[in-house]
């Protein structure tokens, strides 16, 4: 018999209420886990896409609220960048979210400069690559192949033009796996954006240091007004989808936190009111007020901790189900870092403390002589 076992016993003896409380908290925590995992997944996926491409720096127009930076004419900027120290390649990329074929969900269509390093990280699993810059073919990610029900040799209509699927690839980045990739020239042509790109990918040589990258950034600022050089991580941070999903996860954390604390508050307050006499007995036999508070905190934290742990499992399960749903395939690739899960557990404990604070104070303030007479 110690304080902890007593706290467990107190929860255990009201299984229905404890169950409801734990369910409510676990649902809130599950929402937090799922949404945050998805938000981070978005970020990680974009990050992975950039990392996998081997891109060191991205040069783009000064950021807008669009999902992708707005297109610009590449030629002049590209030539200028090629003259910067350590620069190996400057490669244009044009992308657009397009619906390809009737009734299909929109997918990313990427145009990558033909023969550039951007293609190197893709692994061909079927068919072949385009044999020339202007050959009217595309390659599609393995997930896109599944979503669009297309395989090598099939036709694909993009912006009113017919393409044949030359190959199917796999990429380390979910975003690319769900995408259609063609040569930059073709993309510019079908989108009527000749000579334009959304971003220029810059690959520097091995000898470049972080200081050189910083120098590159300031050189862009100084000599190319209206443009900005950022690392791929910075670009991802500015991405609207990433920002919105992060904002949603923050809002969920806030709401789930408030609701969770209120649920615990209500449960513990009811429990304290029902146990007024019992608390009176404990105070009479010499329990200190802080021990009574400790007991209430233990109980509320046990509830929220259980809710938190179950919520983590439920949240991961929900995300897993979402990832396997047809409409969501390839759009989410949730990431649950250990430190995040630890933080969620921490959040649960905080909820317990926040929700249990007032009930604990109330219990500790009881006057034993009166509490003993409470029915």
């Amino acid at each position: 018999m110690n304080l902890l076992s007593l706290a467990f016993g107190n929860i255990y003896r009201r299984p229905a209420r404890a169950g409801l409380t734990v369910s409510a908290i676990s649902l809130g925590i599950a929402a937090v886990v799922a949404l945050t995992g998805i938000a981070w997944g978005f970020e990680a996926s974009w990050q992975k896409a950039n990392d996998a491409r081997g891109t060191d720096l991205i040069v783009t127009r000064i950021a807008s609220e669009n999902a992708m930076p707005s297109p610009f004419r590449a030629e002049r900027v590209q030539e200028a960048l090629k003259g910067y120290p350590h620069v190996q390649q400057v490669v244009g990329l044009l992308s657009e979210m397009l619906s390809v074929g009737e009734g299909s969900p929109p997918v990313f269509v990427f145009g990558w400069a033909y023969g550039s390093y951007l293609w190197d990280h893709l692994k061909l699993v079927d068919g072949r690559w385009a044999s020339a810059d202007t050959e009217p073919v595309v390659v599609i990610g393995s997930l896109a192949a599944e979503l669009l029900h297309k395989s090598v040799g099939d036709r694909l209509e993009i912006e009113g033009q017919q393409f044949s699927v030359a190959g199917v690839f796999e990429s380390p980045a979910a975003i690319e796996n769900g995408a259609v990739v063609m040569s930059l020239t073709l993309a510019q042509q079908i989108l009527d954006k000749p000579g334009k790109v959304n971003i220029l990918n810059v690959k520097v040589d091995e000898s470049a240091t972080p200081a050189d990258l910083a120098q590159f950034k300031s050189q862009v600022r100084a000599t190319l007004p209206g443009f900005v050089a950022i690392t791929s991580g910075e670009l991802v941070g500015k991405n609207t989808v990433v920002r919105i999903s992060k904002a949603m996860s923050h809002a969920t954390i806030l709401i789930a936190g408030l609701v969770g604390a209120l649920v615990v508050f209500n449960t513990m307050l009811m429990s304290i009111n029902e146990r007024t006499r019992e608390i009176g007995i404990l105070l009479t036999v010499g329990w200190q007020r802080r021990t009574v508070m400790q007991l209430v905190f233990y109980e509320s934290v046990i509830l929220t901790l259980a809710g938190g742990l179950i919520g983590i499992l439920v949240g991961i399960a929900i995300t897993g189900i979402l990832e396997h749903m047809e409409v969501m395939r390839g759009k989410i690739d949730a990431v649950f870092s250990p430190s995040f899960l630890v933080a969620v557990v921490g959040l649960s404990v905080l909820l317990g403390i926040a929700g249990g604070l007032f009930p604990a104070l109330k219990a500790a303030r009881l006057r034993p002589a009166q509490a003993l007479w409470h029915e």
């Binding site: 018999m1 304080l3 007593l6 019992e278 036999v285 007020r289 034993p368 002589a369």
Partner: protein, 279 residues
């Protein structure tokens, strides 16, 4: 095995901030008189010392307890001295202030005016009443006041939470105590599976587990039949004798009060002139 609680109290006193390390010098001389100015009541068997009263474990002086802004007067000027090792029965009709007196002596309630001294130290100087209760006082109630969701053993052990000692040592102590009270086969029973007498014995064990100096028993036999009542009383008096405990017991039952060393009668919040005057 009696713990020298005097030392503990002195330590506790010294720990209180602003008091220095020395316990205060003797409290002002205390003359034991009832509020009516009459001589000590019948049954007051020890010799009075008018200058000091070293044997007194508890002294109450001019205790008043008012409720509802003074409209209700639970106690109205009670003076009382209890000698260490004494078994005192406080008798009187319902509402005469017995329970209020016990609550104040038990630090469960603070008097409106007046002061209680425990071994000459005033209650108003006690910084931590919980700790004081845990170290010096055991409570026994008419309604047992056991926690219904805990078994007999845990009901006793619950009073040891926050006290020094290992879990196994506390467990051994609780088992011994319950065995002594004839409950060795009832350790895992819950209160609702026990008879009234058994329940009250569990409550007695809980009151004794921290080796108190003073037992406050508020109508301990009020919910028991006569056989169980007698058994519990015998147990209580035996333990009191064995441990040299001081017991203050509130009761309205003359057959119960007859077991006491001394009877203090109360009426209308005051000590009545003599116990015989009480109905």
């Amino acid at each position: 095995m009696i713990i020298h609680t005097n030392d503990r109290f002195a330590r506790h006193w010294a720990a209180c901030p602003g008091r220095g390390s020395a316990a205060p010098a003797s409290i002002a001389p205390f003359r034991f008189t009832s509020r009516t100015g009459l001589p000590p009541p019948h049954g007051f068997r020890y010799k009075m010392n008018t200058e000091s009263f070293p044997e007194a474990i508890v002294r109450a002086r001019a205790l008043a307890l008012h409720f509802d802004d003074g409209d209700t007067q639970a106690l109205n000027g009670v003076d009382l001295a209890i000698r260490a090792g004494e078994f005192v029965a406080v008798v009187g009709p319902s509402g005469c202030g017995k329970s209020s007196l016990l609550n104040i002596i038990g630090t469960l309630e603070a008097p409106t005016t007046g002061e209680v001294f425990f071994r000459a130290q005033p209650y108003s100087g006690i910084r931590d009443p919980s700790r004081f209760r845990r170290q010096h006082i055991g409570f026994i109630f008419q309604s047992f006041n056991l926690i219904p969701t805990l078994c007999a053993l845990d009901n006793v052990l619950v009073a040891t939470i926050g006290t020094p000692g290992t879990a196994s040592e506390k467990m051994a102590r609780a088992r011994d105590l319950l065995a002594k009270l004839g409950l060795e086969n009832r350790l895992a029973h819950f209160p609702n599976k026990m008879s009234g007498g058994e329940r009250q014995r569990v409550a007695i064990a809980r009151a004794l587990i921290n080796s108190p100096d003073l037992i406050l028993a508020d109508e301990p036999t009020g919910s028991l039949d006569s056989a169980n009542s007698a058994a519990v009383l015998t147990l209580l008096t035996d333990i009191q004798k064995e441990r040299g405990l001081t017991v203050i017991m509130a009761t309205h039952d003359p057959s119960v009060s007859a077991r006491a060393d001394r009877i203090v009668a109360m009426r209308d919040g005051q000590i009545a002139p003599s116990p015989e005057a009480a109905p």
